[in-house]
């Protein structure tokens, strides 16, 4: 962990390096201040060039013909009429790009265009390039595809019950993509010691990212045999790898990927996409630049959003709410492809243990293939659904035990600097302070359970929930021992500092993060720093903007590069001024003697002095996360350099006659470690509140499942911005934001993540608030008006005051998980390895 001295060039960093997590606020000039983002003015004045803004001479426009059936073999594709149409310059089908790809090495199951099979309505089959977009679209209408229809698989229950036909010829068996079965500690003992046991069933419907910018790509294969791709992607490095794979034998170093500024990503632009690869191939075919801009409907088909997850949670607790045993099952509806699904499956089990200690923990996760747009990572990747279940269940347990839900949590916090049952290493841990902030701010103790009535007859309620999220995944997507992030600095005799980094700004401010850290270390104005990012020809590899990894990982790499540059400059200045370099201060664009501040020079002169002494100045920094103590199979998902913590209190006002409710106010506290920028951190928290509100109240990837004359139609219900409901400004509550700072020694200046964590408490907090107001449980997300109404009706009729999936044995699919992998917990003396080798069924043959 930390700075590897053997690699350090030249000299050594200062004693308080590497990450200066304990720096006092008074020592910092840039970090923590509300400085505007480096790209803010371009963004708000409309000058930022997004991928769809780019044009090149002789550029063609590409459209994709997509499947109109949910599951079928492709018998024939007739493109003759399309090819003959005026304006059409190129047509591609699956056979032109037969090499499969996928974001994870274990699920290379996608083709740029379907080869012989379609798996959901929207799967792309043919690409057509023409002089205009309209011509390309018209030409697509002339293409005739003959299908042999296969049985549609529409849900996890259907997938579990259908061994044939299979969507894919890989996976565990039938339409089961993944099965995981991990057991930490002694469940039997844990439940035996429990003083109260609850078993609940929950469902979290899928939803999508809904970025403002629709995906767009411009590809240009030039006359020198080099391919350049400009794309709205969060992961240029992974796209680069996928292109090199599919376009083989084009060498990887002939491919240049430039990630354009993303108009929102949220995880939806983290996979390499078929349209990106097809555009590249089309450019190679036609010799002309190719542009493709997806329609909003097509963005819904790209999806990779939140998995629908059915969950059963059995929790055993002591009278004070300490969790002695947790038996958690998750059934994920993965959609048509693997995508990040293997990681998603593990994530539905990984982070249950980092908020409150779980003494003994059993996790079973199953992911299924269905004929839906593929699911993947969305803000909070895989941890959002189980967090909903756990936080609602804890609220019920508090109710059962007659405890205040806030007190129950406060008395059972996971300790800082500890190992969890599943060997996740917790560093700094500010959840207690987060809870305290939101219960004080909201008047929780006085107002909870009061059922105040509003002027228009609605009933008020307060709900609380907490969460945790990782600051970057401990392991990369593909196995390698290389750094996760690299930064190069170039210092110029003009005083200019240029930062080169492969990271991608998706609106979260990662370009700005680089300038704040470098600016702080070198004592220069961050707004004067030049940032060159996300260009595989120019910038060192960064794995991408996903998993909340950028601030910690590129931040640490930038810090290392800046410390090294500082060292070089300090040596140059020290010789020039005849002052020991240890006495030099870098601040206000000057380098000066701390004992005689008059004695010094401008930063520009300092660079000149160093350049005169050592030659051209350039430094590098890189970052690899610490090794995880989790060594069992599956232990690679969950470890992170640090965990952020959030707590929320949500106020709702429920109309008891209709179930309609509104959310007037939210108190959200987030332990960010240290805010590198006070304003941007708050923006991320408020953005999370907004997105979580949408998921809780209305957003869902619903499907139309109809049959007509023996033909089953299975299609996304509402692929439009008007009918896929997401909150407007009218629904957005007042948000009271608390930034809690508990610096973590693994983060640059102690920083942890903020982009995803604060989303998680919203959904369970709203469910809990609805209960506080009208005494009914909605165990299914979204917590829509209709469900609240149905639960109220049920209560009125004297039945279970609940809406949710069946709690009976038929509630979850019947799946044989096989034997569990058994791991001793740290307090049982476990070493992070499994003590048994479970029998695993042989993988189904092709």
């Amino acid at each position: 962990m930390g700075l590897d001295e053997s690699k350090s060039i030249p000299g050594v960093a200062r004693p308080d390096a590497p990450w200066r997590h304990d720096a006092k606020k008074s020592e910092l000039n840039v970090i923590g201040k509300a400085i505007r983002k480096i790209d803010a003015r371009s963004k708000v004045s409309g000058l930022t060039k997004f991928a769809d803004d780019l044009t090149l001479p002789r550029m063609l426009h590409m459209k994709l013909l997509r499947s109109t059936v949910a599951h079928a073999l492709i018998k024939s594709i007739d493109v003759h009429k399309a090819r003959a149409m005026s304006g059409v310059k190129g047509v591609l089908t699956g056979q032109d790009m037969p090499i499969p790809f996928g974001i994870l090495p274990v699920s290379q199951d996608e083709h740029a265009l379907c080869l012989d099979k379609v798996r959901f309505v929207g799967d792309p089959i043919v690409a057509v390039a023409a002089l205009t977009e309209e011509q390309a679209w018209d030409a697509c209408r002339l293409i005739e595809v003959e299908y042999e229809l296969l049985q549609t698989i529409g849900s996890v229950h259907e997938a579990a019950a259908t061994s044939d036909p299979r969507l894919h010829d890989y996976g565990v068996r039938g339409n089961i993509h993944r099965l995981e079965n991990l057991e930490f500690g002694d469940l039997q003992d844990g439940f035996a010691r429990a003083e109260h046991v609850r078993e609940d069933t929950f469902f979290f419907e899928g939803n999508t990212h809904l970025p403002m910018e629709q995906h767009a790509t411009l590809a240009h294969f030039d006359k020198d045999g080099k391919l350049t791709i400009w794309s709205s992607t969060q992961t240029p490095h992974y796209l680069h790898r996928a292109l090199a794979r599919v376009l083989h034998p084009l060498p990887a170093h002939h491919i240049r990927v430039i990630a354009c500024p993303n108009g929102g990503g949220f995880g939806g632009k983290s996979d390499p996409f078929n349209h990106e690869i097809a555009a590249a191939k089309m450019s190679m075919l036609t010799g002309r630049p190719i542009k493709i801009a997806l329609t909003r409907e097509e963005v819904f088909f790209c999806h990779r959003g939140r998995h629908p997850v059915l969950m059963r949670s059995k929790m055993g607790v002591t009278k004070t709410g300490r969790i002695t045993a947790l038996d958690f099952q998750a059934y994920l509806d993965g959609g048509a492809y693997g995508s990040y699904g293997t990681a998603s499956t593990f994530y539905t089990g990984a982070l249950q243990t980092v908020t409150y200690p779980v003494e003994n923990y059993h996790f079973r996760g199953a992911r299924f293939f269905t004929c839906k747009a593929p699911c993947g990572p969305k803000r909070g990747h895989g941890t959002v659904q189980p967090r909903f279940a756990i936080e609602v269940q804890l609220d019920k347990i508090a109710c059962d035990l007659g405890l205040d839900p806030a007190e129950l949590r406060l008395q059972n916090l996971a300790p800082r600097d500890s190992l969890t049952a599943n060997f996740l290493k917790i560093g700094s841990m500010g959840l207690g302070e987060c809870i305290q902030k939101v219960i004080d701010g909201s008047g929780w103790k006085q107002r909870r359970g009061q059922r105040e009535i509003t002027a228009d007859g609605r009933i008020r309620g307060l709900g609380l929930a907490c969460s945790s999220y990782l600051s970057g995944a401990g392991l990369p997507i593909y196995w390698n021992g290389l750094p996760h992030s690299g930064v190069q600095l170039k210092l110029d005799r003009s005083g200019l500092v240029t930062v080169f980094c492969g990271s991608t700004d998706i609106g979260q401010g990662s370009d700005s993060v680089l300038t704040w850290i470098v600016g702080e270390v070198l004592g220069v104005d961050p707004l004067g720093i030049r940032v060159v990012t996300s260009d595989t020809d120019l910038t060192p590899v960064d794995l991408g903007s996903y998993s909340s990894r950028v601030t910690v990982m590129t931040g640490n790499a930038a810090m290392q590069a800046a410390e090294r540059a500082r060292e070089i400059i300090a040596r140059g200045v020290a010789e020039h001024l005849l002052v020991p370099s240890s006495r030099l201060v870098f601040a206000d664009a000057r380098v000066f003697d701390s004992e005689d501040p008059q004695k010094g020079m401008s930063f520009m002169d300092a660079v000149i002095a160093a350049e005169a002494r050592f030659g051209t100045i350039g430094t590098v920094g890189s970052y690899t996360p610490p090794k995880s103590p989790a060594k069992f199979r599956g232990g690679g998902v969950g470890p992170s350099p640090s965990y952020s913590y959030s707590a929320a209190v949500v106020e709702v006002e429920v109309d008891p006659l209709t179930g309609i409710y509104r959310v007037p106010k939210v108190w959200m506290a987030h332990d960010i470690g240290r805010a590198l920028n006070a304003a941007v951190a708050m923006g991320q928290i408020e953005g999370s509140v907004y997105m979580g509100l949408g998921e809780a109240m209305m957003e869902e990837m619903a499907y139309r499942d109809r049959s007509h004359k023996g033909h089953r139609v299975f299609v996304h219900k509402i692929p439009s911005l008007l009918e896929y409901k997401s909150p407007s400004t009218m629904e957005m509550p007042d948000v009271v934001t608390y930034v809690v700072e508990d610096p973590d020694k693994n983060g640059p200046f102690g920083a942890k993540e903020v982009g995803q964590g604060p989303l998680l408490p919203m959904m369970p907090a709203i469910a809990n608030a609805v209960f506080d107001a009208v005494g009914v449980r909605v165990d299914e997300n979204p917590i829509s008006f209709e469900k609240v109404f149905a639960a109220l009706q049920s209560k009125k009729e004297g039945k279970d005051a609940r809406f949710g999936p069946s709690a009976g044995a038929d509630g979850v699919p019947q799946v044989d998980f096989g034997d569990s992998l058994k791991i001793k917990t740290p307090w049982q003396g476990g070493d992070g390895t499994a003590w048994n080798e479970p029998k695993r069924e042989k993988k189904a043959a092709k």
């Binding site: 499947s67 109109t68 309209e134 209305m698 007509h708 139609v713 299609v715 008007l722 009918e723 008006f785």
Partner: protein, 327 residues
């Protein structure tokens, strides 16, 4: 959504000229006012008129004329955002101004017109989709290429939903509309403009131009409009209750009109609810009883946002709230 298909654009200088152009091109021509409904529909290829006749240069259609008796004639080209702040309308026709304000978003209301809103196409989640999406269900009968109604596959008719906010309230208020055709001008009750069919939802002849909306003089009536939708902006109504109640000097109801928008292919009269009111004072009990009778006529189908059964079950609550606002 695609870009607009190619068409010829006309800007006639009189209503008569517009009607002549429409007659000349028949089914290949369509009128456009604000374009907030037609143009998105054209981008999804619901309609692909070769000739689009804009009414923006036709004089006299964008004024609100207040008559001596307080009644008003509202030009069809009046922008919705102008009507929602019109002092006379706010003072005397508050329910109408409120309904206008409930339409979509401020941006849409800056472009959309009252004429366009009164003639708004019916909507259905099986129909208001991209061309490619509709290919995957082999279209529906509201499209030229389709033959079935996906909401009710056995049905011989289309069940697309009346989705204008103003229609239920102007029908309840017994407003009138002015139509200009090749044979001159006629005035009919607004409620006679509509029919119970998702495709042929208007009774007017295609070439007839809606030029004015007439709201009757303020008198011994009170009207209201209550809208149900998921979000407090943007969304079309999934239930829009327009109510108008006439009372005598004792507060006894002499006549009541209740129209349910968003609950069928036209603004459905809640006749049984109306009957409960007549001869009664608007007490809470009477209002609740009238509300209960509204569940039956609400013919909600699974082709809008929000659950179909829930929308029916809460209809009484919304009718009761509309009536309470008429007290």
């Amino acid at each position: 959504m695609l870009r607009l298909p190619t068409f010829t654009y006309y800007r006639p200088k009189t209503a008569a000229e517009a009607v002549r152009q429409k007659l000349a091109h028949g089914k290949d021509a369509m009128y456009v006012a604000g374009g907030t409904d037609l143009y998105p529909n054209m981008k999804r290829r619901h309609q692909t008129p070769l000739h689009v006749i804009s009414l923006q240069d036709v004089p006299g259609l964008n004024t609100v004329e207040v008559q001596q008796d307080g009644s008003v004639a509202i030009g069809a080209m009046c922008r919705l955002s102008a009507l929602e702040v019109h002092p006379h309308l706010l003072l005397n026709f508050g329910a109408f101004a409120h309904a206008v304000k409930e339409i979509s978003t401020p941006l849409l209301r800056n472009m959309g017109t009252i004429g366009g809103n009164l003639l708004l196409d019916t909507r259905c989640t099986y129909y208001d989709q991209s061309h490619e999406w509709r290919e995957s269900i082999d279209f529906c009968m509201k499209s030229k290429a389709g033959s079935i109604c996906w909401v009710a596959p056995g049905s011989p008719r289309c069940w697309a939903v009346q989705s204008s906010d103003t229609v239920p309230v102007v029908c309840a208020m017994e407003a009138q509309v002015e139509l200009v055709g090749p044979d001159g001008t006629r005035r009919i009750p607004a409620s006679e403009l509509y029919r119970d069919d998702g495709i042929q939802y208007l009774t007017k002849r295609p070439e007839e131009l809606l030029t004015r909306l007439w709201l009757g003089a303020p008198s011994n009536w009170k009207a209201s409009y209550v809208k149900l939708r998921r979000r407090d902006t943007f969304d079309f109504p999934v239930l829009g209750v327009g109510a108008c109640v006439w009372t005598d000097s004792y507060g006894v109801v002499t006549k009541a009109n209740i129209r349910l928008g968003g609950a069928g292919s036209y603004a459905i009269p809640a006749t049984e609810s109306e009957k409960v009111l007549v001869g009664q004072q608007l007490t809470d009990a009477v209002i609740a009883a009238a509300g209960e009778k509204a569940m039956k006529p609400a013919r909600t189908m699974d082709n809008t946002d929000l659950d179909v059964y829930w929308r029916r079950k809460v209809a009484p609550v919304f009718v009761a709230r509309a009536l309470a606002a008429c007290k």
